[in-house]
Symmetry: C2
Subunit: 263 residues, 2 copies
């Protein structure tokens, strides 16, 4: 995940290796999800312990991290970085109120995702409260090949890009239902492009179904909107008949806003 | 805002100035809220143009930013940084479902804030959809002295810390109702500590009222929960009678979870 070749200058005199290392250390907290020692961060980032120690020391001095005994935790100031993206992203800003309305209308959680470095990034989300909720939020990342948003995003790509993705990606059978054959997946992407939506039935996680539609920009698919829910609560046919029309309506509204941002 | 003394090593050989500069450039996008040129980022950060250029070049190579003509925009990958905090913060993770429930019960937006470098940081938020919505989200920051969460957070501090804050803070009259006299504010903090809640009536913005209660940890106030709404929709008396009891209930639940995190 922390591609070390990306952290090195590779002869680029303008590249700041220190900045790359510091950001890698910040990011690795997302995977560990608890206080981390220098040794753990070193293992996750592939950086030496002294290098990690200097990064953490600097992050502490800047207020982005704090030391607790031998471990380190992130501080809320880190949120200001993610907020910098959200507040500068026309797409995320415009989508949020539309997703909020959709959630209120359907009483289901809705999300907006984009393709970023071969993953679906959740850039906006409107959530309902449930005892058994799906632990996704803005900033969450999921694979492209086995999620409804991922397939919608891939279906907007050229055949060549789809094939290149399938060669790069680790196609893991996360459940017994997960499609992992590149040929089958290419056919699925075609199908999604033709139909204009994707339904994924328990390929990411047993018990989870979801439906997604594309958000088109002037140059093709720029994002996807989806609704996911527990398989016990809905059949695939109901998922399509009940949720495809409102999802398409919101995608069209968002398309209009993104195409004429008036910013 | 971008305290330059914080960006310099000041004789600390372990301090990574490059990392500090890169993070300052990332953050300044939050204030500009649109594509930014090198000159604009230089003005906002106080860094030289060549220094900003190197930071942006590195951020582009790492996938955190993209160049659009002469300007730069952030990419969704930046969200992974904010997400690193959220997914590693017990408080934010535990609070979110409680806030979602409270929103569904009250049909009002609810937030959780912490005191970070003399500002209220929104670390969790559950939002209702409204035509006239309040543009706050996770990662938003507001002043302490004129917000209900800020006053609750300050009321948990010692008199000495409160006085030190009032000396450091720029006490600006954001509306004709804003209290800016240090003596009056100290008395208000006392009142909030005694009553166990704060109501702020149009001191942050005309037309906006809010109520907040503290979330206590083993060593005092660790966070605040609030509900804010348009003044036309509710009187101060109603704000108290209708929302104080459910806010206190959630604060108590969160206190129990934070005190026994079982992590």
């Amino acid at each position: 995940m922390y591609n070390l070749t990306m952290l090195e200058a590779n002869g680029d005199p303008e590249f700041m290796t220190s900045l790359a290392r510091g950001l890698a250390v910040l990011r690795c907290f997302a995977d560990e999800q608890r206080p981390m020692t220098i040794a753990q961060a070193s293992r996750l980032t592939g950086l030496s312990r002294p290098a990690v120690k200097r990064c953490l020391h600097t992050l502490v001095r800047l207020g982005y991290a704090a030391q607790e005994g031998v471990s380190y935790v992130l501080r809320p100031k880190v949120l200001a970085l993610g907020y910098a993206y959200l507040s500068s992203s026309t797409l995320a800003m415009r989508a949020q109120p539309l997703l909020d309305q959709l959630r209120d209308e359907l009483h289901e959680s809705c999300s907006l995702g984009v393709n970023e470095e071969d993953e679906v990034y959740y850039v906006a989300r409107a959530e309902v409260s449930r005892i058994m909720s799906i632990s996704l939020r803005v900033g969450s990342r999921l694979p492209l090949y086995c999620t409804s948003m991922g397939r919608v995003l891939l279906s907007g790509q050229s055949k060549e890009n789809q094939r290149a993705y399938l060669r790069r990606a680790k196609l893991v059978a996360l459940t017994p239902h997960t499609q992992t054959e590149p040929g089958d997946l290419l056919a699925l992407f075609d199908h999604v492009a033709q139909e204009g939506y994707a339904i994924v039935d328990q390929e990411l996680e047993i018990g989870l179904r979801s439906i997604a539609v594309p958000v088109e920009g002037p140059d093709g698919v720029v994002a996807a909107i989806n609704i996911g829910m527990q398989a016990t609560r809905i059949t695939v046919a109901e998922l399509r008949s009940r949720y495809l029309p409102p999802l398409r309506k919101v995608a069209a509204e968002l398309r209009a806003l993104v195409t004429n941002p008036r910013r």
